[in-house]
Structures are given as C-alpha cells and as structure tokens.
C-alpha cells in the first residue's frame, strides 16, 4: 500500500534534488516551509508533529534540506512531509504539501463497517500501524 497524500505521491519518490527544487519554488513565493512527521498517517490526522518551527525568512533551499536530513536521522522510519505556508491575505494557509519520506513498509488502513439503522453503515478508517504504541509502529525501531 502507498499513502497517496500530498502533491506528488503518484510519482516515483522524489530525489533530494527534486525536493530541493520544490522547496526553492516555495521560498521564491515567500512561503515558509515546515517539516512535519508522523507515524499515524490517518487521512484526517491534520496535525503531524512539527520539526521545529516553520522556516520563515529563508532564501536558500539548502537550509531546508539540511533540516530534512536531520529529521530523517531521527524519524527516518516515519512519514515526513514538507508543507509551505502562505501568510498573504485571502490565503493564510498551506499552499503546497508533499511527502518526502516514508516507512519501508506501509501497512495501510482497515475499513471497519458498523451496521446501523436500516441499510446505513458507519465507516471507520483505522491505520493498522496505530495498534502499536507511538514510536514502535514501523519496523523495529
């Protein structure tokens, strides 16, 4: 299974050079890039953990890549994404987000069906990984 959140998940995993060009695009737009990681990639888990603060006032993608590699050293067994924030009026939101690191094995999600009234079914999407405690969800780390 491959989690296809983010802007480029249907393409082969981006190389660091490709990541760097996307980051440069964001910085060129004046957006602040943030590195976020999680081991709970549920589609409605909005708040991945932040690797420090969004990198405001940065001009060179190299700095972001350096931070990404630091993050990978610690959380390389988890999902890591880049999110770019636009503070301009009328947006004030994420403008680009893409996954830059994945666990080796992506166990994916189970769909629980709970039969309710009539033919209604209540659906729950559950990550197989979250059956284990945080930090022990992927591989043996």
């Amino acid at each position: 299974m491959r989690v296809t959140q983010g802007c480029f998940s249907f393409l082969p995993d981006l190389t660091d050079e490709q990541i760097s060009r996307q980051v440069q695009y964001c910085l060129g737009k004046g957006w602040a890039v943030n590195i976020e990681f999680t081991d709970d990639p549920h589609p409605r888990n909005n708040f991945w953990e932040m690797w420090g603060l969004p990198m405001f006032d940065l001009h060179d993608a190299a700095g972001v890549l350096m931070e990404l590699n630091e993050c990978r050293k610690v959380y390389g067994d988890r999902y890591i994404r880049m999110s770019a924030f636009d503070s301009s009026h009328g947006w004030e939101s994420v403008r680009l987000s893409f996954i830059v690191n994945r666990p080796k094995q992506e166990p994916g999600f189970r769909l629980d069906r709970h039969e309710a009234n009539g033919r209604n079914i209540r659906y729950t999407t559950k990550s197989y990984a979250v059956d284990r405690p945080e930090g022990m969800r992927y591989g043996d780390k």
């Binding site: 299974m1 959140q5 249907f10 589609p43 403008r95 994916g108 659906y123 999407t125």
Partner: protein
C-alpha cells in the same frame, strides 16, 4: 454620443401622457455613479430607427421605476433617487447597431442578500421590451455595501483545501458515465474505481436525481461505501458530489440530511433549481460543514448568444454571492463553449478578491469582493490527460479538473484512467514548480511521466488527436490593447 441631459424638470415632468424615457430622468450623462450604486452594463440592440440613447434610457426606466406613461404617484416618492440612471452609451466595437449602456441603480432599490430580488429588478421586465431587438446583461459592478449582505461560498477554496487535505495542485474529478441507467450498485462501482485510481472527487451528472433505474437513497448508500473504501485504500480524503436536486425544497433538504448522515463531505445542486433554492442550500451547507457543488445546468440557453440574454460572468458573480463552493466555468480546450479570454474572466471572478477591469477578458468593472470566500471553478466536458499542460496554463491550480470520459473511457479500465490523469497532473505541477516551460514542453513532460506509468502511456495514445476546435460564439468585444476610462 454622450450628449447632455434632456431631463424635463419641475411641473412639466409630471404632465399626464407619454414622454420619452430620456426626458423622464433615465438618461443622465453627467451622473457620477456613487460607490454604493449597483452598476449594470447592457448590450442594447435597438429596433431599426430607435434612438440608442432612448433605447438605453428605456432599459434604465423599465428596470427601475418607469412604466409606459407618466404617473403622478411618482410625486409621492423620492423619485429621483429611485430612478436608474443611464449615464453612458457607447457603440460596441465592430458590431453595427449594438450599444453598451451603463446604468447605475441606487442601493435602496434592492433587498439585502437576495439574488431573486437583484435579478427580478435588473432582468425581470426589460428583456421583452418591444423597441429592442435584443438585450444582454454583460456585467455588473456590485458595491461592497451590497456584497457584504451575502453569505458567499459556504466553504470557499481555502477551507475546502484544508478540509480535503489537498494543496498545490488542481483537484481531480470525474462525472460517472453513462449518465443514466446504472443501478445504485453499478454506479458505486464506477465511483470506487475512479477514486481508488487517484481522483479526489466523483460527480453525479445534472440529471441524476431519483429515477426508476436508481432511486436516490440507493445511490447515496453505494456511493458512500465506495468513498470510504477508496479512502482507506489510499489514505486520502475522497468525496463524491451527491446531487440533491429534487422537485421541492423539502425533498432537497431530506436528501442533503441523508448525505450528511452518511458522512459525505460534498453535495451538489443544479442551477435550474433557482436562485432562492440555491441560497437556501448554501445556508444549509454552511450550517452543516458541507462543500456545495453547483452544476450550471441550463445556463447556455441564456448565456451563449452574444446579443441576447445574460453573460455567464454575471451568473458567476451572482453565484459567488449566493454561496456555492464549486461552479462549472469552462475548460477552454474541451467540448463546450469557451473562448480562452472570456473564460479567464469567469475564473478571475470566481477566485480573486479584487477584479480589475479587463476589457480583453470581458470584465468591464473593478469589483471588490471584500473578502467573500473564493469560489472554486470546475472544468468539465471533453478534456483528457494529454491536455494537462494546456489546462494548467489556461485555468491555473485552483480548479477542479473533471475527466469523465477521459477516466471511464480508458482502455485499461477506470482505475487506470484515474491514475493516468493523476500522474499527468502531478508531473506537470512538478515541472511547473521547477521552473520549466511546461506549456511548450508539455507533451515531452507527459511522455517522460508515461515511461513509468503504463496507464498514462495508453491514455496519451488513445486520445492523442482529440481536440474540439470550433469558433466561439461569445468572445470579448475589445482587443487586448483597448482601454476605456471609467
């Protein structure tokens, strides 16, 4: 031709009998529109022999206080305030016999927050007026004071993206085909395949309501199974526009409530349900955290011909006020009417906070939207993966690209069709962000992406020669260099 006022004043103005509209105070070339006035721009085609000024003054009169004869009861009112004032008439470039008439209306002529009232005033009476051969409402300037009386899009582009967790690229959709005849179970199959393959949305067609072959509850139940299954399979939020269009408001509310109960993130309505019904559903959508998709069913009956009707740019403005979140606004390259410059104008109206007057895009006025939510335009009808670079160039990234046939007609199946579109899109965005000249290198970028994606390769092969190159019937009247001082 903008000569001076001919208005008769004083006692003579109210002598019983018939008086020309231009003498009754509906032609005021010296009038300076107030910031709070609503301004309408009409394309007037007078009958042969009718003075264009008189024809334009008649439009102002008949869309505000006038009737065919002088009435003394005007004198019981602040009549001068309530008269719409035509303040400018220009010949339409390269169109003999046609005139642009600018008409200003005082804000007090309109009810707050009511498209029904606004449209009943501006287009309610005057389009059948005998001295005119034809009449078209081209554009409107809506003052901030009036804009602020409307809810605006229930969700808006920013919140829709946050809720769907999709940033930085157009959203992808497909209309389920065939439009008619699928059972609920078969219908849900198409939804599942398309969403699992990589689309964000699927969509009911405008005339999928509740027919003998598939009643609405069947459709909703099977569609939500499909949405949830695809969501679990991909780890992404998915949606399907459940069309709640029905014969009565009560039926529509019932269907919308059921969609909510089943956990749908989006519902859909058709333009033909009427402005008031649209505003009611927009309020419902805001109250119930629902994205509201509008299919512009029927609009071409009055938007397409250049000389008569209402321009789609006006409909787009009304719908942004009315509060829908999605509106079909043209593809440029697909099978339906859409000149690139005119379509650009529609997209700007949907998405910008401030529209500059741009005559070359058919936008006649500066329009301040005063932070009203942005409305997501939808491009649907005869588009395919091979056009991705052109679509991105014409339409930008805040748009839903809907490939119905271009997904479901894929030779390797619906999932493959969806994957082809998604890969083509992501490859194009990646290239654009890298600073490549994606419009010209588009075919090359797609071919490269197809090397690692067989479905894309096969899509490019099947539809490689499909284009819809016909003359547009609705284009801007001004070349890119024209400018008109206001």
């Amino acid at each position: 031709m903008n000569e001076q006022s001919m208005t008769v004043r004083g006692k003579d103005r109210y002598k019983s009998g018939v008086m020309e509209y231009k003498k009754m105070g509906y032609w005021e070339p010296d009038y300076e529109p107030k910031d709070t006035d609503i301004i309408a721009l009409f394309r007037v085609t007078p009958q042969d022999g009718v003075d264009p000024i008189e024809a334009s003054a008649a439009v102002a009169g008949e869309s505000s206080t006038a009737t065919w004869t002088v009435v003394w009861t005007d004198r019981l009112t602040a009549a001068e305030k309530y008269r719409a004032k035509c303040y400018r008439v220009d010949p339409v470039p390269n169109s003999p016999g046609q005139y642009f008439a600018y008409i200003a209306y005082d804000l007090d002529l309109f009810e707050n927050g009511s498209i029904a009232n606004l449209s009943a005033s501006i287009i309610g009476n005057v389009f059948g007026f005998k001295p005119l051969k034809a009449l078209r409402l081209e554009d409107m300037r809506l003052p901030v004071a009036y804009v602020k009386t409307f809810q605006g899009p229930a969700t808006g582009i920013v919140v829709e993206r946050e809720r769907m967790d999709k940033f930085g690229r157009p959203l992808l959709g497909a209309t389920v085909k065939p439009k008619l005849g699928l059972s609920g179970r078969n219908y849900g199959r198409v939804v599942y395949e398309a969403l699992k393959g990589g689309l964000d949305f699927t969509k009911d067609d405008e005339n999928i309501n509740s027919q003998p072959f598939m009643h609405w509850r069947e459709r909703f139940l099977y569609c939500m199974e499909a949405v949830n299954k695809a969501q679990a399979a991909s780890g992404e939020i998915k949606g399907t526009y459940l069309n709640v269009t029905a014969g009565t408001m009560e039926d529509m509310y019932e269907r919308a409530e059921f969609a909510k109960e089943l956990g749908s993130v989006v519902i859909m309505i058709d333009l033909v349900i009427g402005y008031t019904a649209i505003q009611s559903m927009a309020k419902w959508a805001r109250r119930n955290d629902m994205i509201l998709h509008l299919h512009r069913a029927g609009h071409s009956t009055y938007t397409r011909q250049r000389n008569h009707g209402v321009s789609f740019r006006v409909i787009a403005k009304w719908m942004r006020l009315a509060g829908v979140d999605h509106i079909h606004a043209g593809t440029v390259v697909g099978k339906l009417e859409g000149d690139p410059a005119t379509t650009r104008g529609y997209y700007d109206i949907c998405r910008e906070d401030f529209n500059r007057m741009q005559l070359e895009h058919g936008v006649f006025f500066d329009q301040n939207w005063a932070s009203l939510n942005k409305l997501m335009p939808v491009a649907s009808g005869g588009i395919h993966a091979g056009q991705m670079h052109q679509l991105l160039d014409h339409l930008g990234e805040d748009v839903v690209l809907q490939f119905g046939g271009g997904t479901i007609g894929h030779p390797m199946g619906i999932q493959a069709g969806a994957t082809a579109n998604r890969v083509a899109l992501e490859a194009m965005i990646l290239a654009r962000n890298e600073g490549r000249d994606y419009l010209h290198e588009g075919p090359e970028i797609l071919a490269k992406a197809a090397q690692t994606c067989t479905p894309l390769k096969s899509a490019l092969e099947v539809w490689k020669d499909v284009t819809f190159n016909y003359e547009s019937t609705d284009m801007p009247d001004y070349a890119p260099t024209a400018s008109v001082s206001m």
